[in-house]
């Protein structure tokens, strides 16, 4: 929020007592001083009832569950928003990382409201933005093929995994997110039939209790599958891969928000549960190394991928944020030489999100998604290796149009993290790292988690997925193609000064 920072949580805890106390005080005033006080008695009585109802009766609004009538003040400001903001705060297209307009669209989708926009775009719509090119002859509805993408088919794996929607939930760990958020995402993904990445939160206990397919992420600390030294334990990986709902493994080489940097899990955060799920001792800080101990150079990296593929028996991919194309070219050459390819490569844009990372890394490290994606696609095509793997793209791709743009530039499917946080009701308060998330997503504080009702938010996640997938199909029709596989640079208008322009021209 752009308003001054107030600790809503503490304030509302005070309000919970102060409002009924005022009702009592007014009653006494009315009884013994002047009847006029009873105007206050009635008002505070009503406010008390309202507060209780917000906190315990309704389940739809996380802010109201957590902050009661004080949360209502926030809603009121929001509905007066367009006018107020215009003059005092920031405009509809100013907030970052996601503008109010972008967020509002996710919220609408999540609530299942199919609202058209009136009169015109709120964007500048200048010639310096990438746009989609429609066809004069849209594909008739019904002729657009349903989406299908299979991972692991090049290797002829019996465990090859097929997705039927172009979107997957990108890595968000239990740890960065609290338990209810993880459960709501997993349940929503299950309802919509898409897989969810576990993030590097260790053994996916909570996700496994919900009915959805999982991509297990192995971070550099190998939480969940590590031995005492923090190296990969084949035995634990095998145990994990034998869970029927774990469908794929993702080896995280780097992440857009903090490429080339490991994380530190402070000992205060290591609860008994986290210690068990991640396989780390309590009472000691745990350092995630910036790279996998097993991957010291190109050959050992490729061999590590082979090892994970063989031990798990599942489609296995890698996730990375692009730093240098030369390095990647060398890595792909090594893969070709050893005939080992990851079943997918997830490209994470430098603009990617995170629970917490140092500012220079968030702001200044790693290639932005589009040039990275275009570059990787190009290198693979030039080396004749493109068909050996699948490309996934992540980086602020929220909404069907952004998905389509990613797929025009080489992605086979789309990964999204923050889009799903928004669908859970994230208000972009940017407190994910402080354990004080006001809507109970990025927090382990039980009193804040009270706001997030899993059954309710799971439906929003599902609605969001289905709404966007529906939009995506209609975009394909307007682009004049029959399936997402046909998408290419020719479906894009790319401004000449853009760094990806060369790719589109060629």
């Amino acid at each position: 929020m752009s308003t001054a920072k107030v600790d809503l949580q503490r304030l509302s805890r005070v309000a919970n007592w102060v409002i009924p106390a005022l009702a009592v005080a007014c009653f006494l005033g009315g009884r013994f001083v002047s009847f006029w006080f009873h105007f206050g008695t009635v008002t505070f009585l009503f406010l008390t009832l309202m507060n209780l109802s917000y906190r315990f009766v309704q389940t739809r609004h996380a802010i109201l569950r957590n902050f009661g009538v004080l949360g209502q003040v926030r809603y009121m400001l929001e509905s007066l928003g367009p006018e107020l903001r215009q003059y005092f705060f920031s405009s509809d297209t100013e907030e970052r990382p996601f503008t109010r307009t972008e967020r509002a669209e996710v919220y609408r989708k999540a609530k299942g409201i199919d609202a058209a926009v009136s009169f015109g775009t709120q964007l500048d719509y200048g010639p310096d933005e990438i746009k989609l090119r429609h066809s004069m002859f849209p594909t008739p509805k019904g002729n657009v093929e349903p989406f299908r993408l299979t991972f692991g088919d090049e290797r002829g794996l019996p465990t090859a995994y097929t997705i039927t929607k172009p979107i997957l939930i990108s890595a968000m760990s239990f740890g960065a997110l609290g338990e209810p958020a993880v459960r709501a995402l997993a349940r929503g993904a299950g309802l919509a039939g898409i897989p969810m990445n576990t993030g590097e939160g260790g053994w996916p206990k909570h996700q496994l209790e919900e009915p959805c397919d999982l991509i297990f992420q192995m971070g550099t600390a190998k939480f969940g599958v590590r031995d005492e030294q923090g190296l990969l334990s084949d035995e634990k990986l095998r145990a994990l891969a034998s869970e029927p709902r774990v469908k794929m493994i993702e080896i995280k080489l780097s992440q857009g928000a903090k490429p080339g940097k490991g994380g530190l899990l402070p000992k205060e955060k290591i609860t008994r549960e986290i210690s068990e799920l991640r396989g780390v001792p309590m009472g000691r800080d745990v350092v995630s190394p910036p790279y996998h101990e097993e991957c010291r150079d190109m050959p050992s990296t490729v061999e590590f991928i082979r090892r994970v593929q063989e031990v798990s028996g599942l489609p296995t991919g890698i996730k990375l944020c692009v730093g240098s194309f030369e390095e990647l070219g060398a890595l792909f050459a090594e893969m070709a030489a050893r005939d080992v390819f990851p079943d997918f490569i997830a490209i994470d844009g430098g603009e990617g999100g995170t629970g917490a990372a140092p500012k220079p890394y968030i702001d200044s490290f790693g290639l932005p998604l589009l040039p990275a994606l275009v570059g990787v696609h190009r290198i693979l095509v030039d080396m004749g290796l493109r068909q050996r793997t699948k490309l996934l793209a992540a980086g602020k791709l929220i909404g069907a149009a952004k998905w389509a743009m990613g797929m025009c530039l080489g992605a086979d499917a789309i990964y999204s993290a923050r889009g799903f946080m928004l669908s859970l009701g994230c208000i972009q308060a940017l407190q994910c790292g402080n354990n004080t998330c006001p809507v109970g997503i990025a927090t382990h504080d039980r009193t804040l988690q009270h706001g997030l009702v899993v059954a309710d938010k799971a439906v929003r996640v599902k609605n969001y997925i289905e709404g966007c997938t529906h939009d995506f199909e209609s975009l394909l029709s307007s682009l004049g193609v029959r399936s997402a596989r046909e998408l290419g640079p020719r479906h894009l208008y790319v401004p000449p000064q853009s760094i990806v322009a060369g790719e589109v021209a060629s």
Partner: protein, 138 residues
């Protein structure tokens, strides 16, 4: 625009029985409130003595009378009926407190009746106003 959606009112989905009940509540509450309110504004002897007992004569009598008339008018207009009911309920809560603590139980049944009618309106129209919907949405 990112403006809030105005969902369709539930009016179309209400059964005739419920609609009848709704209008009985609205008309009943409005009638009694208007009758009581205009009496206070006009300065009935009964009202004056009551508000003298409360120590609010004449300002309180006029204020409450105006609020009662206002609530009655709001209750008669479809779009504002919930707010009228809320206002009516508030004034009646005050009246109930007054009867219980100062005035004696004589006028209590009327106040309770109007309060109940207002609650009826609020209940039947619970989906009409955002603030009510937010209270109970599940």
């Amino acid at each position: 625009m990112t403006s809030v959606q105005t969902p369709k009112s539930d009016a179309s989905r209400r059964s005739p029985l419920v609609t009848t009940a709704l209008w009985i509540c609205q008309l009943g509450a409005a009638g009694i409130l208007f009758f009581a309110g205009q009496g206070k504004l006009a300065g009935d002897a009964h009202a004056i003595s009551m508000f003298s007992d409360l120590g609010m004569e004449p300002a309180g009598r006029i204020a409450i009378g105006a609020l009662e008339c206002g609530a009655a008018i709001l209750l008669l207009i479809r779009q504002s009926a919930v707010y009228g009911a809320l206002l009516g309920l508030g004034v009646m809560c005050g009246a109930i407190i007054g009867h219980l603590t100062v005035l004696g139980l004589g006028g209590l049944p009327f106040a309770l009746l109007v309060a109940a009618l207002c609650v009826g309106v609020l209940y039947i129209r619970r989906r009409d106003a955002p603030f009510l919907r937010n209270l109970i949405d599940r």
